[in-house]
Each structure stands twice: as C-alpha cells, then as structure tokens.
Symmetry: C2
Subunit: 324 residues, 2 copies
C-alpha cells in the first residue's frame, strides 16, 4: 500500500541569490518559471552567482516532504544516468521515497532548474528539462499506480510533450483501481501554455486540485478570486487554493474552509506550494479532517520557506501526530 505516488519532472535545483536588477537584465518574470534550452541554461549559469545544488522538481519535493512526515510515498520521474541524476536518485531514496524509474542513458543530461532568490525571498526559476522530455507512458508502472491512494501530478509535467500521455494513462489506471487523482497547476504561465488541457483534466480526470491565486484565476480566465473559487467548485470534488501569507481556502461542492498561514520567517519561497500539497495529502491519506489537512499544508510550507531550498531541514516526523 502506498499513500502517495508523485509523477513529475525530475530536476536538480541550482539556487543563487540575486538582486532584482539581475532578473531585469535577464528578462525574467519574478516568481515565475521559464523553460530554457541547453544553450540558454549554459549562458545563464555562466552569469549566475555561486550556487547551491539540491534535488528539486515540484512533485518530487512534495514526495520528499510527505515521506518526511511519515507517508508511504513512491515517485516516477526521469533523470539521466549522470552525476546529477545520481544526486536526485539518492536524495529521493534517502528520504524514504520508492523511486525506480529507469534513468535515460546516452541522451540529454539530468534536468536542472536555475533559481534566483531575491532579497524578498521570492524565487524565479529557469528550467532546462533535459532528460525529462523522454518521460512517457512506458514509465508508468500500473502496479504502483493501482496501490497508491493518491496519484499526484504536477502541471509542469505538461511541458515535456510525451508526459501528457503518461498523465492520462496514470489517471485512468488510478480511477480503474478506485484511487484518487490529484493535480497541481504549478505556475500561471504553465496554465496559460496548457489551459485547454488543464480545463479538460480538471473537468473529469482530477479529484483533488492544488492551485494558488494566480493559477486558478488563469485557469478560469477570470480576474476575481471569488469567481475562480465558484468555478472550481463545479469542476472538482476537492480543491485547496493557496494565497501565500493570506493562508489557504479548501473548497468542496458543499464546503468552504479558511485556513490561516502558519507563522514563518521568509528566506526562500522555493517549494512552498509543493510542501503545502505534501502536508495536505499526508494528512488526507492519514485520515485527517480537511481543516487539519489544510493546517498540515500550512505548517509544512512554513518549514520550507524558512531556509534555502525546497526539501525539509527540520524533523517533520511528528507533525501529523502533533495535531492530535
């Protein structure tokens, strides 16, 4: 039995501190994620300050945090057979996540995300997808999907072309086994790139949706939060909508639950949404109430934004039990 199966882009993060002028010089949208090719990644890396490397990837971060909270977790994602791929594999397995997707050999290198953290703690991401573009249906192990209470996929997964088919295959297998499918919208620019696909998914293939305010309004092409919340209620059985320091709102067809943000010192917001989803889903699969799931999401996010990097530094193993 698995509580959570995450499927996503397997990425190593390179985190540097930079000022707003650096972002302007390199035409970056603060807080967003931009896809870059190998040449652009080399050029940007050359221009970046010294960095710190750590395993990243949105769904992978969610898996690592959920595992650290005690959930039984598996992950599917594509690294290359290289040093950074080895780092990614090690970090997943060392967190207790089951990860056995075959690495790519003889092709593109392991994906990396060049992240600039500005003094306000905001992160701006530039992703070279590398080996991730080869993730496809053949990487989805039906036996693993069938035994996962929740199969969770990141919206970013729609950027590498073959992964959409992998997503649909996993969703179909999960539902056939009576399991739940969860999706994170990942990023407003990503929503704009794949709006039609996301609308189709949300309206029929997804049971649990995670999104922040800009993502959910982008999905429904509305300017107001209230309209977006009303729309999502028609589409999915359960949505957790995050609003940074304003906390989060859990929406079901019949309920609206407000959750406060947990107090946090903001150092680096990288992975905040990933950690929220981890806390929420670890709580859900442990049988907690929706309000408690939201609180666990807030607590996990608060830990992650208090330090550089998207993987936990504190011991999270007693977080669920601490709620009583």
């Amino acid at each position: 039995m698995i509580d959570l199966l995450g499927i996503g882009n397997a990425i190593v993060d390179v985190v540097s501190r930079a000022d707003d002028a650096f972002l302007s010089r390199h035409d970056m949208h603060k807080g967003g994620m931009m896809l870059i090719d190998s040449a652009a990644a080399s050029a940007l890396y050359d221009a970046m300050p010294p960095g710190i490397e750590s395993s990243g990837g949105s769904a992978a971060n969610t898996c690592a945090v959920a595992a650290a909270m005690g959930a039984r977790v598996a992950y599917i994602g594509k690294v290359a057979d290289d040093q950074l791929g080895g780092v990614f594999q090690h970090d997943m397995r060392a967190t207790g996540v089951s990860f056995s997707t075959a690495p790519l050999t003889g092709g593109a290198p392991t994906a990396r995300c060049l992240i600039l953290v500005t003094p306000d703690g905001q992160r701006t991401m530039n992703t070279f997808l590398g080996a991730c573009v080869t993730l496809d249906e053949s990487d989805i192990d039906p036996a693993v999907v069938a035994q996962a209470a929740v199969t969770y996929m990141e919206g970013y997964l729609f950027d590498p072309p073959a992964a959409q088919a992998a997503f649909y295959k996993a969703a179909k297998l999960a539902h056939a086994a009576g399991r739940k499918v969860a999706l994170s919208l990942s990023d407003a620019f990503c929503v704009n790139r794949h709006r039609a696909a996301f609308r189709d998914l949300v309206n029929g293939h997804v049971d649990i949706l995670f999104a922040n305010e800009t993502e959910i309004t982008a999905l429904y092409e509305t300017n107001t939060w209230d309209e977006a919340a009303a729309a999502v209620r028609q589409d999915v059985g359960l949505a957790a909508l995050t609003r940074s320091e304003a906390g989060s709102t859990i929406v079901t067809p019949t309920e609206t639950i407000q959750i406060a943000a947990a107090p946090a010192r903001v150092v680096d917001t990288t992975g905040a949404g990933d950690a929220y989803a981890a806390g929420f889903l670890a709580g859900l699969t442990a049988g907690k109430s929706l309000a408690q799931c939201g609180q666990l999401g807030s607590l996990a996010a608060a830990e992650i934004i208090g330090h550089y990097g998207a993987r936990p530094e504190a011991d999270l193993s007693r977080m669920i039990a601490s709620l009583g």
Copy 2:
C-alpha cells in the same frame, strides 16, 4: 597583481545532517577528515540522508571568502571534466576567483567530500579525492605564483602524492619572486600522516602558518598549547592559531596578540578555519594591522558557521572597510 593564490584539493561538498549514532555506526571521528576510496564513498553516500551540494575544498573556500571580501584571488586545483567539476569551476569564477587549471579528462571523477553535520554544529568529513590525485608540478603556473602577494596552500594537499612536489615548486617560485608562502595545517589527522613533511615545511619554506589547537599540538607532539606556541615562534615569522569560541592568537617572534571570537550562532562549522584564513589574508594583503587581520578572520568565520556550507551567504564586500 594578485593578493592571494590558493592551491588545494578541488572538492564538491555533499552536506547531510546526521546524529552522533550515525557517526558511531560508520566509525567516524567527529570533527575530523577521513580519506575514503571510491567504493567507500559510494557505500557511505547510499547510507547518508538527503544532501545539499556546494563547492568546497579548504583552500578553495578560503579563496572564495577572500574574493567576496574584495581581494584579488586566483586558485589552482584539479577537477574532472564532469558535471560536478563544472559546478566547482562555475562557483569559483562566479565569486571572482581566477581559476584556469585544466580539468582531468577520462580519469577519476571530481573529488567529493561527504560531510555529516551533527546537531552540535560539528562537521565530520569523508573525502574521496578523485581527480585531485593528478594535480602535479605541471599545474603550477609560474607567472601566476610570481604575481601573488601570498601563495596559500592547504595541508590536505599532501594527501594526493604528486601534490607535494607542486607545493615545493610553488613555494620556491613564490620566494624567488619575493612573495610570501602560507600554509594551513588543515586537520590533526592530516598532520599525523605528514608530520615530517610539515615540520620541514614550517621550518624553512613557510612564512605564515594557520593551525587550530589540536593541529599545532599534533605538529610539535606536545600536550600543551603554550609549548606549541613557543615552538611555532621559533619556526615561522607569523602564525595565526585558532581556538574555536576562545578566539585566536597571533604569534610572531616578538609579539603575541589575542583576538576574541566574533559572536555567532553555530549551525555548521564546515569551513570556519578556511574563512578565518581568508579574512586574515584579505586583511594582510590590504595592509591592515595584525590585530585587524585577526578580527577580520573572526568575522569571516562567524558568517560561515551561521549557515550550512562553507561558502559565504552574506555580502562581505564591506567587511574590511568597516574596520576603518
């Protein structure tokens, strides 16, 4: 003109948090550095918790901190032509350090140091030297040595066999150009491995010596700090002896200057001694008094031990000017 030329083992650090029981299970001496081969490195990495990768190497850390303080810095060290080697090169150059040693191709991979940080902030290091074992005399560029006010070498450099010759070549070239040679003793176990060579160096080839209490007593095979300080005064013109939270003592043939430690929250002591040497030498080459050099060493060390990793996170560019 160069203020500081560092020569050392070019290493990427992999930092994980672990408890004392982990160190015991793996027969590690807390606070020390152990050399391990490729197989042992793989086995230990498999057993380690998730990690964070950052460029390391003792003299390289010193170079990065000194450059961040505004010194003109060059570095000589051997990485391989692989992903981690690229990370190391990037981080040196991005700090403003001139680094053009040819990487090793087709041989061992870039060196890595598996570092366990215990809850008390102590770091315990396990180094796989990889490509570093191929650093030799041919990597010493006479033109670079001749224009460096101080050529600084780490004691760890004596572990890869060919590097001793490189050390002597660099020392000879530096002195022929009227420059200074500095040495860090690095680690008490390293001193024990190479005591005869270090005694020969200190007594005739080195102008400035850095050591902590256990290293300097190991060098002179004495149990008391006072005996060690008296002995070093006979051997070198200038020694900076560090004593953790008790501060440091600067010893010349005619002077003994006590320097207080700067206040610091201890998160991870990795690189504390490297940063002290950086502050000291950046001050010295900027014409500061010995007492001010010691203060700069303390301030730089305090910054480094306040966070994970051995490279600076704060802006150090005004540290020297702040002393007035």
